[in-house]
């Protein structure tokens, strides 16, 4: 059973690490993963996609990576849509994302800098 006492202990531990993290947030080195979470995205399955990215980033203990949400991106038929903004790179838009694609996007793109083109909106024109 999780208790509030346990949460207090986690807090004490986390506070020790926070100073190092804060200096990273907001800096130009942050890669942002943004998931479309309007009605269209949610209906298409964006919730497990967003949670999956958060879990994967935590599992790999990636620093300088944030996962957040946005409204309707305007291509509802391709939801769930995920946009990746890496520092100094052009935005990459992933379409029809599913939880099973997440590990590869994080490994190839977020960690190693190579977008998984077959999952992106660019693949549509090929």
């Amino acid at each position: 059973m999780k208790t509030l006492e346990e949460l207090l202990a986690i807090k004490a531990k986390a506070q020790a690490n926070i100073t190092t993290r804060e200096s990273a947030d907001g800096s130009a080195d942050v890669t942002r993963i943004v998931v479309g979470m309007a009605t269209c995205g949610i209906a298409a399955g964006a919730r497990p996609v967003l949670n999956g990215f958060v879990d994967e980033v935590a599992k790999r203990n990636l620093k300088n990576v944030t996962v957040s949400q946005t409204g309707c991106i305007g291509m509802c038929q391709y939801e769930p849509i995920v946009e990746v903004f890496a520092p100094g790179k052009e935005k990459v838009t992933y379409i029809k994302m599913t939880p099973d694609k997440i590990a590869r996007v994080v490994a190839d793109h977020i960690v190693n800098g190579n977008p998984v083109t077959e999952y992106t909106v660019a693949s549509l024109t090929e």
Partner: protein
């Protein structure tokens, strides 16, 4: 939507967009009368009577990327299909209350689904907002007030890996107890 919990996520995002600082989400099930009520209450900017009339219309939306708004119509349809109803009250500058009532014994009842995932997502993605979540089945109730958790955490974010993991387990354990399961 495949799960009512996805409608809850979607509808609550409207409260976020309305600039609410406090959002209350009630999920109340009565197994005797076979009803489920979902009530989402916010202190956001509210809607005028005119807007209030139009939001149930799928061809009304505030979004600019396309011309239809399906959030409330879908939620309303999910309730009405079961023989239930949806009510919307709102006042400019005060806030909005949306109440959906479902008959759980209807063949058209959409299951609640992973409400824990919806709550976890809302509270971690919108930390600046205080949430009060009530999950009640008959006499058993679990109440989560994020303001209480923030007081304990004293500035440590819900998105710290260990904090988020604790929240996830805590919510699932507490709702499991209300559902009558053994943990």
């Amino acid at each position: 939507m495949r799960e009512l919990s996805l409608n809850v996520l979607d509808i609550t995002e409207n409260s976020v967009s309305a600039g609410a600082s406090l959002i209350e989400i009630d999920v109340l099930e009565d197994t005797k009368s076979k009803t489920l009520s979902i009530i989402i209450r916010d202190n956001g900017r509210g809607m005028s009577e005119e807007t209030l009339k139009s939001v149930k219309d799928p061809f009304y939306t505030t979004r600019t990327t396309r011309k239809v708004g399906m959030g409330i119509p879908l939620f309303k349809m999910a309730a009405e299909m079961t023989g239930g109803s949806l009510e919307l009250q709102s006042e400019l500058g005060v806030g909005t209350v949306i109440s959906a009532h479902f008959r759980t014994d209807s063949i058209d009842f959409t299951p609640l689904g992973d409400i824990d995932a919806t709550i976890l997502m809302l509270i971690t993605m919108h930390e600046e907002i205080d949430f009060v979540y009530r999950f009640k089945i008959d006499e058993n109730e679990f109440v989560l007030k994020t303001a209480d958790l923030k007081a304990i955490l004293g500035g440590v974010s819900f998105n710290e890996t260990e904090v988020r993991a604790w929240l996830k387990d805590y919510i699932s354990e507490q709702t499991q107890i209300i559902r009558g399961g053994v943990t």
